[in-house]
């Protein structure tokens, strides 16, 4: 029976080690807990959220913080796994006692953490998950979406595409929630805005599909007027590469949400295909406003790279958190939420507001087409047109109707 004794000694020492594990925060600060994926392909986006956030927080703290308190944050890597993400969020709330939670690119985690935030009454800022359900069907008082969602992206694209003369559309994308949601959103809204539009076919591939050529040959054979590609993550780049190699980009115009965004174009350098339509919430070279230029310079000095759309999200989230507490006048969650509702802050892309009814940040969308630019070693988005939030965002009534269901 000695083994029982050893077993308990061992267990106790492990538990002990765990109990003395120190808090990640100093006392007397505003604590922000970040749960996000910092492993795998998603990291290309989440790192920018974090760096943008860091940039703003450092600036705020340098000015003395908020209400005399510094903003402190800590990160947890959930590895794109909702169960781990959820247990980390619980750790942050229950053990670290964070005031605010933010994070995650994974919609599954975002929804799970959102549900937890609702129960624990902790404000939760969703930074890069794009599920429409976050503020729609599963929305509640404590969740804020600092990023567009699939419905918004789809509507914005539909608004821009409806002006084009194409009739026969082909739909293709990553066979998972994000891909289908964005494709459905575009198609439904496109049909609403231009009743002549028809879908002549669709193809779906598994997430992380490395070779798109078979799908592209299938599309080429069908000869549609226009193709909507609903991919995310590394699929964006992979598809553009395949589109170039097979000559698809010269034959049939196609659209990819975030296809004109830095995250997609920069890795490909000069080899990215020209003439790809895309929408993005942020382009570091457009609009050429002083505010945008200042942000880009700041970001570039700090991290030696250009900011992506996710950097803007992180940057603005930090500012909203700081301003929210400032306006509330105390570190009180209910007052904080009240303060944020309807708050408008200046940003690199102009004034941004958090809508009071559904806690959605009202972001502009830029519709453009990829082209070469001698100033950069990668392609940029040209012929940019701004789709302002009021032209495409679902109305409060529409969103609240989803919540009732």
């Amino acid at each position: 029976m000695k083994k029982t004794a050893w077993f308990s000694v061992f267990l106790v020492s492990i538990v002990g080690l765990f109990l003395i594990c120190p808090s990640s925060y100093a006392a007397g600060t505003i604590k922000v807990g970040i749960v996000d994926t910092y492993t795998g392909p998603a990291t290309a986006y989440t790192q920018d959220v974090l760096d943008g956030f860091k940039l703003a927080v450092e600036k705020i703290n340098a000015k003395g913080g908020v209400l005399g308190k510094k903003i402190e944050y800590t990160t947890r890597d959930e590895k794109f796994k909702p169960d781990i993400g959820l247990s980390m969020a619980k750790e942050l709330i229950l053990k670290e006692k964070v005031d605010v939670l933010m994070g995650t690119i994974n919609s599954g985690t975002a929804l799970a953490v959102s549900d937890l935030a609702k129960k624990e009454q902790i404000p939760f800022f969703v930074t890069y998950a794009k599920s429409e359900k976050i503020i729609g069907e599963k929305g509640h008082r404590y969740v804020f979406n600092m990023n567009e969602n699939t419905e918004m992206a789809g509507r914005a694209a539909a608004v821009a595409l409806a002006k084009k003369p194409y009739i026969k559309y082909w739909i293709a994308g990553d066979d998972y929630e994000y891909g289908h949601a964005i494709a459905d959103a575009i198609m439904n809204n496109l049909k609403r805005l231009n009743p002549k539009v028809q879908k002549i076919g669709e193809s779906w591939w598994k997430l992380g599909e490395p070779d798109f050529t078979p799908y592209i040959t299938q599309m080429l054979a069908a000869k549609p007027d226009f193709i909507i590609i609903a991919t995310g993550g590394s699929g964006m780049v992979n598809f553009q590469k395949a589109a170039k190699a097979t000559g698809l980009s010269q034959n049939i115009p196609f659209y990819q949400h975030t296809g004109n965004e830095l995250g997609t174009l920069m890795p490909q350098g000069k080899d990215a295909p020209e003439g790809v339509y895309g929408t993005a919430n942020y382009l570091f070279y457009f609009p050429e406003s002083p505010a945008n230029k200042a942000f880009v310079d700041e970001f570039k000095t700090a991290y030696k790279r250009y900011p992506k759309a996710s950097a803007l999200v992180g940057y603005m989230t930090a500012q909203f958190i700081a301003e929210g507490f400032k306006k509330a006048g105390k570190v009180d969650k209910e007052a904080f939420i009240k303060a944020l509702e309807g708050m408008t802050l200046p940003s690199p892309v102009g004034p941004l507001a958090i809508r009071a009814c559904d806690h959605q940040l009202e972001l502009p969308t830029y519709f453009g087409v990829t082209k070469r630019d001698p100033k950069y070693v990668f392609l940029v988005s040209g012929d940019n047109q701004i789709v302002p939030p009021k032209n495409y965002m679902p109305t409060c009534e529409e969103v609240l109707k989803l919540r009732k269901k």
Binding site: T4, F7, V15, R76, S107, L111
Partner: protein
């Protein structure tokens, strides 16, 4: 000696029962997680360490149990308690079906066929959006009030895992358990003493699947969500690691392994985002130096008479 062991066991039970009184909520939550992963690992070890079956994709049954219960809870009007029973039954049924297909093969081939079949189940859950919510999963599942709080969930997990451990332990000590361990050591010999090896293995798989399903139900109760990731092969690897880490020829080993993994994950991740790196290194060291796992090592060290060679 026996009485000392008894006292230790009673002390352990009292500690577990009193845990929510002394520890903050987070630790109660972690304790519940350890219990449920411990059950999952033990259910795997029932066939892996005691049955010698290379069940590579055990989490399929864990996920099936969780989804079974979650769907009963959210899509039907039955009492939640019915859902909690249906979950494990679904897992056991799935285990029977997969077992019937795979049982003809042995060792690595069994494991790989199981991974393919499991991946199919995963793909179905991942794709069947209207039923399962696709990759977003199902969230905010409401469980009965009695077990909805952290402490309630903990006690529920404690009672259920305690009962499950007791049953699994009983089975291992029964003639069936003896035969199963015989099959692990030597299937041909087992046939030759009159044991229908495949049929016993199949029964073991079903029992194991059932308890994996129970663990799945506990996850639903503790975390009130389900995700397709619960059926992904990497989680199965982690559970296998729990078994080997603790000691796969021991009963308590997998529970210890589960505790180690859950604690290490929580503990290291508060320090660094590179927790997988450290976890990997710790695992490598343990596998390298303690081939029989932590508990297996202690057992060897302190009972030299029964040392198992080669």
């Amino acid at each position: 000696m026996v009485t000392k062991g008894r006292i230790g066991a009673y002390a352990g039970i009292i500690f577990l029962l009193a845990l929510p009184l002394f520890f903050p909520r987070f630790y109660v939550y972690i304790a519940s997680l350890i219990l449920l992963y411990g059950l999952l690992a033990t259910s795997l070890n029932f066939v892996l360490g005691f049955g010698g079956i290379y069940q590579f994709h055990h989490c399929v049954f864990y996920g099936a149990g969780a989804y079974g219960a979650a769907l009963m809870l959210t899509k039907t009007g039955f009492s939640p308690w019915v859902g909690f029973i249906v979950g494990p039954l679904v897992a056991a049924l799935l285990s029977l079906i997969l077992g019937l297909i795979c049982i003809r093969l042995s060792k690595l081939y069994f494991g790989m066929l199981q991974i393919s079949l499991g991946s199919l189940v995963w793909a179905v859950i991942y794709r069947w959006y209207s039923l399962t919510g696709g990759d977003d999963g199902i969230h905010g599942i409401s469980v009965p009030d009695m077990i909805a709080s952290a402490n309630g969930a903990y006690y529920f997990a404690l009672i259920v895992t305690g009962l499950s451990f007791f049953i699994i332990f009983k089975i291992l000590k029964s003639p069936f358990g003896s035969v199963l361990q015989g099959i692990r050591d030597n299937p041909i010999r087992s046939e030759m003493i009159g044991v229908n090896v495949k049929r016993h293995q199949l029964a073991a798989l079903v029992i194991s699947g059932f308890f994996a399903g129970v663990a799945g139900v506990l996850f639903v109760v503790v975390d009130t969500t389900v995700f397709p990731d619960m059926l992904f092969w990497t989680l199965s690897m982690e559970v296998m690691i729990m078994c080997l880490l603790g000691g796969w020829f021991t009963f308590m080993g997998p529970i210890l392994g589960a505790a180690l993994i859950v604690l290490l994950r929580t503990f290291i991740s508060t320090y660094t985002v590179y927790w997988a790196l450290f976890l990997g290194i710790v695992l490598m060291i343990i596998i390298f130096f303690l081939p029989n796992g932590v508990l297996g090592y202690f057992q060897e060290k302190f009972r030299p008479k029964k040392l198992v060679k080669g």
